[in-house]
């Protein structure tokens, strides 16, 4: 009877001390342009803050932007924090300066996808549309 309008909700977050926010903002804008609702929480977020925001905002996915080199600790920490808050089903993906061998390792450990510098906004938007389901 009343019209339903499911939309994908994505949290874009910058964990840790890294102050490079250009990429995160570009990606947030691109995802909004692709028709999604993007919550952006700004710089210097701890994994617990990111997980709380993801839960309160009921997002489908969390996208992390990490340029500091700390990706091997931050990605798992966010996944762990989400599980702790009962939100282990939220998709975690992201991008930044991340060497190929680390990408392989992260993908084995629960990260759904990593985009490296040069990835186009179309690619990213398409991946989200194809991989972040609207059900549930």
């Amino acid at each position: 009877m009343s019209e339903t309008l499911r939309k994908r909700r994505i949290l874009v977050a910058k964990p840790g001390l890294d102050g490079h926010d250009r990429g995160a903002k570009v990606v947030a804008r691109a995802l909004a342009d692709a028709g999604h609702e993007v919550v952006y929480t700004g710089l210097h977020q701890t994994p617990a803050m990111i997980a709380t925001a993801a839960v309160q905002e009921a997002v489908d996915a969390v996208g992390l932007s990490i340029m500091s080199g700390a990706h091997m600790t931050l990605f798992p920490a966010v996944i762990e924090a989400l599980k702790k808050q009962g939100a282990g089903d939220v998709i975690v993906f992201g991008g930044g300066i991340i060497p190929d061998e680390d990408v392989i390792e992260l993908l084995k450990n629960g990260v759904a996808k990593i985009f490296k510098p040069g990835a186009t906004t179309q690619e990213i938007g398409q991946w989200v549309s194809d991989n972040v389901s609207l059900e549930g």
């Binding site: 009877m1 019209e3 692709a34 700004g42 803050m49």
Partner: protein, 312 residues
Amino acid sequence: MSRIEKVLEGDVRSAARLMRDLDDRLPGAIEELKALHPHTGKGYIIGITGNPGAGKSTLVDALITLYRQARLRVGVVAVDPTSPFSGGAILGDRIRMQRHASDEGVFIRSLATRGQLGGLSRSTFDVASVLDAMGYERIIIETVGVGQDEIEVMKTAYTSVVVTVPGLGDDIQAIKAGILEIADVLVVNKADRDGADRAVRDLFQMLDLRGVVGRQDVEIVKAIATQGTRPESGVADVVRAIDEHRERMGAHEIQRKTERAMAHIGELVRGLLADRANAALRAQGGLEGLAASVVKREQDPYSAAESVLKSL
């Protein structure tokens, strides 16, 4: 345990999912909301509106801190605009409030307008009601940045705070009559900038011209929201002005709540009717066929519209 029971127990994840389903207008969620209604009515709803970039979110952040110091649980609903072109949105109000992210007494929820006019989303009141049922004692609603006559929040909130800034000069007119007259508390934020006193004077004058002053329930407060809760920030004065308005309203509580319920029901009737009309339109093959017949002069636009309404 049903989702409603979990929400009433304070389960944040269940509540957040329910808010999502309400925002997406799933019929089942609206049934759940109905069941929550008996548990609502205790939270005090404060609306914050004002010019884009005036410092609304920064002020909300400071208000949260002060309310938490008073051991009150705080819920926030922050609304940002949906792009009419893409249908997407960047919800950024939360950036200024993230220091409260690890405080269990604070629940912040961002919403996009999704085409609704008036500075709020259609679901804003519903989401605030979920927070109310969960026992949040102060519920702050931040509208999108507005300057004109977009005043929906005034009908939703018990106390309406309008935030403006100095330096708009004669353009203080940027906050228009409608907003000024409905404000319960006016905040001149960014008082660290030149012209704050002048802005206060201008506001007094505008209120005076309209005969609003003397209406005891308007207060103008200077603030520097970026100073957080330091004494010089003036945020404590904002809290006091809200409390004083709340006390004055206490005497008229039933009347005020009835007015809000009237506005809300009226809006729901119009909204639900529009949903049905749109469904009927779709069932008749959409606007295109009707338009074609109007263009060919087979029928006039009124008859076309009436034919849709007949099938409701």
